[in-house]
Symmetry: C2
Subunit: 196 residues, 2 copies
Amino acid sequence: MTPDQRLVRGARSRKAITRHAVDVASVTGLNGLSLGKLADDLGLSKSGVAALFRTKEQLQLATVETAREAFLDAVVRPASDAPPGVTRLRVLIERWISYAEQPLFPGGCFWAANLPEFDSRPGPIRDALRRQHQAWLALLADEVRHATDAGEITDPDPDLAAFRIGAVLTAANIAMRLDEPDVANKVRRLLEDFLG
Amino acid sequence: MTPDQRLVRGARSRKAITRHAVDVASVTGLNGLSLGKLADDLGLSKSGVAALFRTKEQLQLATVETAREAFLDAVVRPASDAPPGVTRLRVLIERWISYAEQPLFPGGCFWAANLPEFDSRPGPIRDALRRQHQAWLALLADEVRHATDAGEITDPDPDLAAFRIGAVLTAANIAMRLDEPDVANKVRRLLEDFLG
DNA sequence: CAACAAACCGTACGATCGTTCGTACATATT
DNA sequence: AATATGTACGAACGATCGTACGGTTTGTTG
């Protein structure tokens, strides 16, 4: 069962395209993507790009998925080395701040950039973005739960705590994008206040 | 000095167009605006709309300004009846929740929808949106300052408090747009916890 | 009355968009 | 060896975009 090299090639091309599309979409939004632009940027033909994803919406969906993988690699996976509870929570937050401060994507947080554009437009793209957003909040909530179970902190509503953490982080992303000073420390103070 | 009726007419037309443009932009974003679409929606000609605003960017800027006025009418001005400090802060927050829950604009908060789209794109639109965003946070901070000066609450950093309130509110807007349940009460609990 | 200005329209322009079709080539399958 | 599949391309399509020009109508100013 040797792998089909045609499919391997295709998968590699798709990945290269969506990885670049993530960068573009973090600035211009998923709607700002254009097949011609992407093709030009990568030295491909427009029809070639269009053929790999049968429609633009599928390109956008694949882009969303690629963004998720990059986010997991940069933020979530590194934190899984830390012990559950408050310390892992701290690593997650610290990683997220780096993710926004030395931007993994040139436009900052991918979801902060694209959720507002699609949250009022029903369809598979909104569904995918919402699913990922909820997964991120659920991850935070789980860690808060761990922390309360271990007695590290006391919090009556882990879901609410996760909502609050997520709110501060995405607000921090906007503030950084608007070139406001000292945002990272602002966030650290707010969240340390919460964890202490 | 009777007013020039031609200019009056023009101003009224511009207002009608930008008021509709605000609604559209709250869903599709300011980039999703199109002269042809706006003209069709309002029964005008594309070239007529284009002539009233000399360029699309100026239409977008006028749209941003119209959104600001509508926001002031719906959220800020009603709260100015309440006495400064905690109670006015409460009215502001309650008004903002209504503003997002029974949306003044069909796509929810105008700035939550458009700031992420322009925060990485230098230019007059980003500048205008940022100015308004900062004015909103400054308003919240001023009210927090009033409250601490009056001894109603104790808070070492009103700017940080405003950042926190704004963060929770915009996160609430997203959550509502994603059809999550009971968001308003979530927010009320978080902010009451802060004000109490 | 003459000159001007603004609102508004119809038309047309170049550009860009997503999509489709036919084709060439490499790889798998039978 | 014959057939099918997937990548990639060039060319062309209809649609839509922002903008520009000329002309008509209505109101203002000299």
